[in-house]
Every structure is written in C-alpha cells, then in structure tokens.
Amino acid sequence: MKRISLFISILALLALTALLPTGAVYADGHCEFAEDSIKIGGLVPLSAPGTVAGGVAMSWAINRAADDINAACGVAIDGVNYAIEIVIGDSEGSPERGQAVVERFILEDEVDAVTGVYHSAVGLATMGMLDENRIPTVFSEPWNDNVSANGIMEYDGRPPRNADGVDHVFRVSPASSMVGSVVVDWLLDLGVGNVVIIAENTDYGQPAAADELARFEAAGATVTQINVELGTEDFVPILSRIQASAETPDVVRVIVTGETSFNLTQQMAELGIAPTEDTICVTNQVAFQSEQYWQNVPDGNYCAFNRVGIIPSLFSDTAVELNEAYFEEFEDIVPSYAMASYDAVWIIADGMARAGSMSDGAAIVAAIETTDLDLSQGRYYFEYGNHNPDLPEGTPAFMWHQWPDPVVTMMQYFEQGQSSLDAAVIFPVVYQTHGSSYIAPGTSP
C-alpha cells in the first residue's frame, strides 16, 4: 500500500510539473474582430515516423502567417474583420493518421480551409476527403506529381473523387518532375555522361530518382541508381563501390533528405568521391540549411544542391522578414517549405476575402484559382483550373491547380562555412549570381 501511494504521489508530482505553464501565444488587439474566426487547419508531421523537423518549421510558419494576417486586422469579408485561427494537426507522416486528422479538422474543429502536408503519401490519402467535404486546400510541401493532378487524373484505380467537377486542392510546392528537370538540365548543360544517383527508398526519393533517370537516359547519359534506407549511418561500403567502378562518375546526385543526406554527403567528401575535379557533388535541398549543413558536413564545400524557393538575392521584404524571424527561432535559414506554408495561409486568406465568404468552398476555390499575389516566394497564380480548364497537349496533368513558377535553382557553396544566403546561384542562367554555371573545387568565381 505504501508503495502504491508513493507511486501515485510521484505520478501526481510529475503531472504537476507537466502542467507548469510555458506561456501562451495570442496577438494583441488593436483591430476590431468579429466574434467568429476563420479556422485554418495545418496538417504537418510532428511525430515519428514523420519528418518532425519539417513539421516543426511548417507549423511555425503557418502560425506566423496567421499572426501577421491578424496583426493586419485579419480577413475583411463584407466589411467585417475576421481573425484567423490556426488548428495544427499531427499527421505523423502516416496516411491513416492524416486521414483521421483531416476528419477531425472537418467535423470537430470545423475548419474552413486546410494547408500544410509534408509527406506525399499523406497528401494523396487526404485529398479525396478534403474534396468530398469541399474544403479549399493549399498543400505546401508534398511533391508527388499526382497530388495536383486531382480532378484530371485517376490514381491507384480509385474513382475520381469529385462528383460535381469542382476540386479543392491546390499546390504551391513544386511537383517532383519540375525539380528533377532543373537538376538534369543543368547537369546536361555541363555535359555529364556518367551519372550516379543515390536515392532514398521513400515516396519522395523513388519517383524523383525514376524521373531524373528517365531524363538522363533520354539524353544519352549512363546512370547507376543506388537506393538507400533512411536512417542508415554508414555509407562507406556503397561509396567504395562507386569509387571502384571502372569509370569515375561525372556526377553523384544525392536524392536523400534529412540527417541521412548529411551523413552521406560528408562520407562522400571524406572518401574523396565528390566533390572533386572529376566529379560534381549534387546534394539534396536540405543543404540550404547552412548552419546545419556545415555542422554536419564540414567537408561539403563545393557541393551543389537544388533549391526550391526564391533565391536569397531576390528575397522580397516579406521573405527577409520571415527569414529573420525564422533565424531567431531556429538559428538557421528559412527553408522553402516554411515559406510555402506561410504563403499558403495568405493565399487562402486572400481567396476568402475576394470570394466574400469563408465557408462557400466553390466560391473560394474560384477565387484562389484567380490568385495574383506577391508573397515571400514570389508571385502566385494558378494557370490551369476551372477558369482555364483545358490543358494543352503535352502539358502534364500535374499542372492542374499547380503554381507554375516555384523557383527551382541550382546553388553551390564555394567557401567553407558559407551562409546559404551568400552561396552562388549557378542555374538557370537568368538567376546566376556569380556568372558561372559551375565552380570547380579549389577555385572561386
């Protein structure tokens, strides 16, 4: 009995410590708000097996956007100001959880719109439900091509999700084919012939690798693809295999995210595979987080990486501000998915204001389709939607409800410990900052 009471008192103590306050977030009130507020659901991964780091940044950005909008007196509908209220849901990176959370958003929280989503599997699994319930949705990070092909294309043998021809899902992140084409175009411009692709075996890595492989092979390059499991730490055996191949590869392209990408790139550099004079190192866009990158990949100088999102030298005021706030919070450069999530909330708010409603799904979708807004990542608009329903021959289905202009660039570090804000943009040529499309190791532009 004594033991049990000890146990209970310890539990109670723990519960008490658990309940200690850590501070609450609420905007100040110089604006007059209506009693109702606009509820926007943010579906992000906040627990394993999801990509927690991504979810944390996205949830921060979504909340930040709401705070900024509210500070500017919220969304004006029929002359009344409505505040935005964010409900964050944890998808855990799993389709099943994602569906459950979306259902909660719709039925319990009664959200008016949804944004977020990091993992494509979650995006694919939740789109149908969002459509059926007529919830305007702007996804900010899933890359799978099919995510925006909703309404145009069937996937997985399921019937088209929408009965009356309206579909509610938009995407402001690039489709993986859009990213792949930039990387491949750049490398082909440099004249590479022998390519090694190292891809993670996930819903992001595999389609992206397949897409790039097809493009390289169409251009006559030889490609070796190597798949790795996320969470692997030691890549030396497989890297030795690359090193032993009869022909030195012209480029090693890493399509691996997170800490696994850092491990891989660092070991690649340490073994002297890439970047070298013969071999170009192309690592993943996570390298843009320069603080983390240099901490984890000290030898990664002269690695190039693809960057989604506006390039630092073209940062708008919004982007600069967002970046500063992000740096204060996480001590790193703001990643594209945080910018996209931030912008997505603004796009929704703008759509509602122009539709003059926060609940009429069809009207809001129609308004979002005609979006024309300058935000942190640039000018947002949607080329194909119900306002312009016919995709010309040759235009891929994913261009439906897809922001056509996510800036995808190739960047390259050329100094040890360089901030990604100073890194060189090397491709496409229009964005070039240092007048060169590749900086050979050991040189500077």
Partner: protein, 515 residues
C-alpha cells in the same frame, strides 16, 4: 516446351540422387579381389559413389570403378562444388530463364538446409550419436551442397568438428560469391583485376566500423554475463552518451572562448569521459531502483520483467531527449584534422595491380579508441580485484558470495559499466555520424547481432562479432548483384546472419555452453 523443361528438372532432381544411390552400393565393390594394401577405405568409396553418381552419373561411376586411384579428397571436393554449382545454375535457368539465380539460392539452398536441419540431428539422436554441432553442420551443409549432405551425414553419422563447419560454411559463402559473379560479371567484387583491391577495401571498411560497433556490444555482453539480462535500453544509452558529449563540448567551448577571448573548440575526445561518468551514474541509479528488486526475489518472472523494464527505460530516454534536444541533426568537431588515410597504388610493369585503399581519418581514430577501451576493459576484468570479482560473479553467484564478494554491488557495477560503455561509444561516434534522438535504434539492433554472434557474455566474442558484422555488412552492400538494392538491404544482411545464429547455434562463436 514446358514439358521438356519439367522432365529435365525431374531428371536433375531424380537422376542425380538415383545414380548417387547406385554408386553408394556399387562402388564399395571395388575392394573385392584386391590385396590388403590396395584396399580403399569403405567410407571414402561410399562418398565417392555418392559424389560421382550425383555429379557425373554413370560416367563418373565408371571412372571411379575402373580407376580407384582417382578417388582423392581433392577430386571429391571439386566434384561436389562443381555439381552443386552447375546444377543450381541449370536448375535456376531451366525452371524459368527469367528467374534470377538468386532465387535458387533463396529457395533451394534454404529448403535443403531446413530439411537437413530437421532430419539429421533427429537421426543422430536416434542412433545416440554425439549430436553436438550436428544441427549447425546439417544446416550449413544443406545450404552448401544440397541433398548430398544426407549422403555425408546419414550413413556414417560422423562426429562434427569445427573443420566441418568451416569448410561447409566456406563452400556456402563461395557459392554465394559465384552466384554473384554469374548474376552480374561487372560486379566489382568479381570483375578482375580490381576485385582484389575492392575486396580488401570493403574488408578494411568492415573491420574499422566493426571495431567501433564492438565497443557498444561489449557493454551489452558485460551486463548479460553478470546479470543474465539483455538491456533493451542500450541503444538509448548510446544515444544519450552522444548528446552528453555534444552538450559538454558546446558549453566547454563557449566557456573557454569567453575566458580566452578567442574561438576555442574542445577536442571531442574529452566528451568521452564526461559522457561515461554521467551515464555510469544514471545506469547505477536505474539498476538500484529497478533491477535490484529483481535479484532480491521481489519480482515474478524475472526475464520478462527485465526485458520490459529496460525497454521502458529506453522509451523514456528517447522521448525525453526528443523533447529536450529536438529532432534536428547535431554533430561535433572532428577528432583529427586528417580527412582520410590512403594506401597508395602498387604498380607492377607500369600497371596498377593493387590499390588505392582509403580509410576515413576520424573513423580510424575512433577504431583505435574503441579497441583501446576494449583492451582496457579486458585488462580490468583480468587483473584488478573488482574485475575478477565481476567475473567470479558471472561464473557462479553463490560461490562468489561465499568468498566475500557482494553480488548486489557487482550487479550494479556491471549495469553501470555496461551503460557507460554504450555512452562511450556514443561519444566516440558523434564526431563521425550526425546525431538525432532515434540514432540508437539502428545501432542497438546491430549490437544484438554482434553479441549473439560472438556469444552472449563473451567480451572477446563481442570484438570478433563486431568485426564479422562489419565485414558482412560491407561485403553485402558492396557485392549485392543489384547495386540499387545492395545499400538498402545493408542492415538486412546482418539480420539474416543474426536469425541464423539464433536458430543454429544460440551460444554463438565464443559463448559458454550453458548447463
């Protein structure tokens, strides 16, 4: 087409064994009408009958019958290897030309292994023969030489020694290697002239990383040898070890920088003792509170409790670290400023015939640290009074208690030291791999493989096991015929070995036989 193929398969399945049976009975007839000195041992003749009949059918039997001098061990071995190898290839191609030969390996090899592993030890026991290692040999043999293992082991029931297992294991490994070669001749493991360099490089990779793995596994084995408990919190202790080192170095660096006014970074080697001390204390406290009652008989079903309680501790550690340190990857500075050590090319007649071999500098350093710590531990266990007391407790608890050793203290010491070793390997690896709170999961899985392979409770076994696992992973990832899958299956190779060792020889390579 289908019918012909089926017939051919049937011939392979039936005719080979058929002729082997014929050979088994006919060939001993060679001895008839021969002088005392010309007699060939009956066993040899039987084996020759089996092998000759299976491999070459009537032709082989005829040759052996007419010219018994051909029956030599070397020719028999060669016959076995050739038979198995060719027939497996033919079989795989015939059944379906599109089927990869690996499928044969996946199906036929293990199938025969399972059959042999089931029947042969039973047969040994029925005949009341010494069945020690019979199971292992039967399984290895079934895998390596298929049905022939029945011929070898059924009739004569030989006593199985280590040589048997080594040769059968080597034969099986050689088959896998040969299959790789046939599967993809461009595979760097087999493509001459670089194969030698490549294999050396991969073996070196394996040894370096294996020694580092060992350090963690040694902790696990130490706890097991004294307490009989497998710690399921080991991976998390390894993880927190790395984090303690990281935060210590961070703060020490900041403090020193402030004092001296210049940017100072502390060498991560100093993180190792710090992490060791902190986790030692943590381990000791956990042992006192949660494991001690177990040894005092206050707990029902001890083994289950031990799994669950350590498991729960690990669960707590992992999520607490996640809540505090966050999910972002961290890494410390490096140990030494040398990127890699390179053994340069060897030339012969102006042609490169060997080299270069690369080893990453920090890893080599961590390997040295790991091996030094393991030897320090061995020295401690062999020479110091406390170490001897630990060993005595692990061998016989009651007897140790009689000689004045306090087993309770030894329990606490073993758990604390085991945890400390995990933390030290964490602190030794954080300069090499980047660190996230779930980093322990992959590593601890590997430690289980190592300790089981080396024999739970054996420190030298853990070292050997670590090196073997390192090499298997390196060669597996390096030689897998499909380069796109080799790396993804890297972890799986060790797990397969693990499952096999658990099934065939749970005492491992160096484990004590339990009575």
């Amino acid at each position: 087409m289908v019918i012909e193929d089926t017939l051919f398969v049937l011939w392979l399945l039936l005719a080979g064994p058929l002729w082997a049976t014929v050979g088994l009975f006919i060939l001993p007839g060679v001895n008839q009408g021969r002088g005392e000195k010309e007699q060939v041992p009956a066993t040899t003749l039987k084996i020759a009958g089996l092998v000759g009949g299976f491999a070459l059918g009537p032709v082989g039997l005829g040759l052996f019958y007419l010219e018994p001098t051909l029956i030599r061990r070397s020719s028999l071995t060669l016959g076995v290897v050739l038979t198995v190898f060719l027939s497996s290839q033919v079989l795989a191609r015939i059944v379906d030309p599109n089927l990869p030969a690996a499928l044969w390996l996946l199906l036929a090899g293990p199938l025969w292994a399972a059959l042999a592993a089931y029947f042969i030890p039973r047969h040994y026991r029925d005949l009341e023969a010494d069945d020690q290692n019979a199971l292992t040999a039967a399984a290895l043999g079934g895998f390596a030489i298929g049905p022939l293992i029945f011929g070898l082991m059924w009739k004569t029931v030989p006593k199985v020694n280590r040589d048997w297992m080594i040769s059968l294991g080597a034969l099986g490994a050689w088959q896998i290697y040969a299959l790789f070669a046939i599967q993809n001749p461009a595979n760097p493991c087999v493509a001459l002239p670089y194969a030698a360099t490549y294999l050396t490089q991969q073996t070196a990779n394996g040894i370096v990383i294996g020694c580092i793995y060992s350090l963690m596994a040694v902790g696990l084995t130490l706890i097991y040898s004294v307490q009989g408990v497998v710690s399921f919190a080991h991976g998390q202790l390894y993880m927190v070890g790395g984090y303690f080192s990281f935060y210590f170095l961070l703060h020490a660096g900041n403090v020193l920088s402030e004092l001296t006014g210049t940017e100072v970074s502390v060498n991560p080697i100093w993180g190792i003792p710090v992490a060791a001390v902190i986790v030692f204390v943590m381990g000791a406290i956990f042992e006192r509170v949660f494991l001690k009652p177990m040894h005092e008989g206050l707990i029902e079903r001890v083994s289950e409790y031990a799994i669950l309680i350590t498991f729960g501790f690990g669960f707590f550690l992992e999520y607490t670290t996640l809540a505090i340190a966050g999910p972002f990857p961290q890494k410390t500075d490096r140990f030494i400023q040398i990127r890699r050590f390179t053994l340069d090319r060897f030339h012969f007649n102006d042609e490169v015939f060997f080299g270069p071999i690369h080893i990453i500098g920090d890893r080599a350093f961590a390997m040295v640290v790991g091996v030094a710590l393991i030897f320090a531990l061995l020295y401690f266990l062999q020479r110091s009074w406390t170490g001897r007391a630990l060993r005595a407790t692990s061998q016989d608890r009651q007897a140790a208690a009689v000689t004045g050793i306090n087993p309770t203290n030894m329990n606490t010491l073993s758990f604390a030291m085991g945890s400390m070793l995990a933390a030290m390997s964490g602190a030794a690896l954080i300069p090499i791999f980047n660190w996230v709170p779930w980093v322990g999961a992959e590593m601890v899985g590997r430690s289980y493989v190592i300790v089981v392979l080396g024999g739970l409770g054996s420190v030298p076994g853990a070292l050997a096991g670590g090196i073997i696992v390192g090499i298997v992973e390196a060669l597996g990832a390096g030689c897998h015929p499909d380069p796109s899958r080799g790396a993804a299956y890297k972890e799986a190779f060790a797990l397969v070995i693990f499952a096999l060792v658990l099934l065939l020889k749970p005492t491992g390579l160096f484990g004590r036989e339990q009575h």
